[in-house]
């Protein structure tokens, strides 16, 4: 029979664990809220740049009329031989299936483009570690490829305090590689996050730019209904809204930018502005993806910790029951001993 003292000790230990998972859940909920706000605050700028580019498109010839060549190298479509894949995972674990979902999508992507060369740039430690075990590492400058699929870069601890400038630096190098024709296209795989219950994994092409203002999603992986329900429950328990946040005043104004139907003086030729602005469009897409991924990671961790706390509750309940039974059994045994002892006299 189980020793009551052992069971009591286990209950105490599980209670301690529950304390930790509960705390982590609340911390993740707070971080999620902040991440959602950040993702929201980044929208007006992104919208405005997109709108300006769109309005510039109508004023510039994007294609050379004689040759049919696109005037901006980032618009140039080439046959895809070398692909750069930016893989956005988290730096840390204990986030349920968050990291493994992204990695699964990445493997699918790699299988999908199996006859191409793929360079992987890993954002987040989890993705780096996983890909490092699977594929060789090569510096982007090395003259020979280390393999059809190779790891070319890692960006750890970038997501914790995500700054636009840091993303801009990465994209600057990527754009250079694209213009030098070392890579023919750039994709990013991340966990898209609109709200806690509206998420999916996507592979999105960010270069070349085909149409401004339209996201080019090549692969998607939806969450199961069950997963969404779990996320929803955890969010409710932590006081997080399930709805997409309403459009902010800034966002509404950003949509009307630049003001339509006005005859502007252009200080620079529209083509020149367009040329300088287009790389920023790519940067913004990656930045937005990373912001959403951060929110998704916190949401996943919150959900995982909520489940862990619930499981701890179940374990405590069942252990308490076992402990009570053991205690009752011991009492019964003692009574029987006393009674039979008395009867023997």
């Amino acid at each position: 029979m189980a020793n009551i003292r052992d069971i009591r000790r286990r209950i105490r230990s599980v209670k301690n664990t529950r304390q930790i998972t509960k705390a982590m859940k609340m911390v993740s909920a707070a971080k999620l809220r902040r991440a959602q706000e950040r993702a929201l605050a980044a929208r007006p700028y992104s919208l405005m740049i997109t709108n300006v580019l769109r309005s510039l498109v109508s004023r510039t010839d994007l294609v050379n009329e004689q040759t049919g060549e696109p005037l901006h190298p980032l618009l140039a479509q080439r046959p895809e031989k070398n692909i750069l894949l930016v893989l956005v995972t988290g730096d840390r674990g204990l986030a349920g299936a968050f990291n493994s979902n992204v990695l699964k999508a990445a493997l699918k992507f790699i299988a999908f483009f199996k006859d191409k060369n793929i360079d992987i740039a890993a954002v987040g430690r989890k993705g780096r570690d996983f890909m490092r075990r699977r594929y060789p590492f090569a510096t982007p400058e090395s003259p020979t490829r280390a393999g059809e699929v190779q790891l070319v870069g890692e960006h750890l601890n970038l997501l914790g305090k995500l700054e636009y400038e840091a993303v801009a630096e990465i994209v600057e190098r990527v754009v250079q590689a694209y213009m030098d024709e070392r890579i023919d296209s750039v994709y990013v795989i991340y966990n898209e996050f609109k709200s806690v219950i509206s998420q999916r994994l996507i592979a999105q092409r960010i270069l070349p730019v085909q149409e401004i203002g339209r996201r080019e999603v090549v692969l998607t992986e939806e969450f199961t209904l069950e997963e969404r329900e779990r996320m929803g429950e955890a969010a409710k328990g932590a006081g997080i809204s399930l709805k997409e946040p309403p459009e902010s005043e800034e966002e509404r104004r950003a949509k009307e930018f630049p003001a339509p139907g006005i005859d502007y003086i252009y200080e620079q030729p529209p083509a020149e502005i367009f040329r300088d602005m287009l790389p920023r469009y790519a940067t913004l897409q990656l930045f937005q993806g990373m912001l959403e991924s951060v929110a998704a990671e916190h949401a996943a961790r919150m959900t995982a910790m909520d489940s862990a706390s619930n499981n701890a509750n179940d374990v405590i309940d069942s252990l308490t029951l076992t402990a009570n039974r053991a205690r009752q059994a011991a009492i019964t045994k003692e009574i029987i001993e006393i009674v039979s002892g008395a009867a023997a006299l």
């Binding site: 700028y45 006005i262 005859d263 502007y264 003086i265 252009y266 200080e267 620079q268």
Partner: protein, 141 residues
Amino acid sequence: MDDTLQLDIVAPDKLLVREQVDQVQIPGKRGELGILPGHAPLITELTIGEIRYMQGGTLHYLSVAWGFAEVLPNRVIILADTAERAEEIDIKRAQEAKARAEAELKQAGADTHYEALQYALRRAEVRLQVAAHAGHVAPAH
């Protein structure tokens, strides 16, 4: 016509400034632009430099790297890659960046990215220049 301008400065991660101002100076790519209320609609790129705006007799300073501005008679909207208010600039970091760029320029070889270094140097200089104004400005809020 109203005699103030609404100035919005939007950075990638937030709305940095939304104020009614009397006058704005922006570093256009082809030279500085002074904008008063009633300016003709204009679109321009900004280069590294300082944005100054006058509000009720005080001048406020910001540093900006690349940006884009839309000017309307009663409104100026600036989209800036990176913009900082004078009082928010980390002087130590700017000085370090400046020293680093200068050192690298000095020992530059054939494979140096001169443009990138010049750019970094220029940015650090502007940030320091703008930061120097911080003491003269009443806190923005």
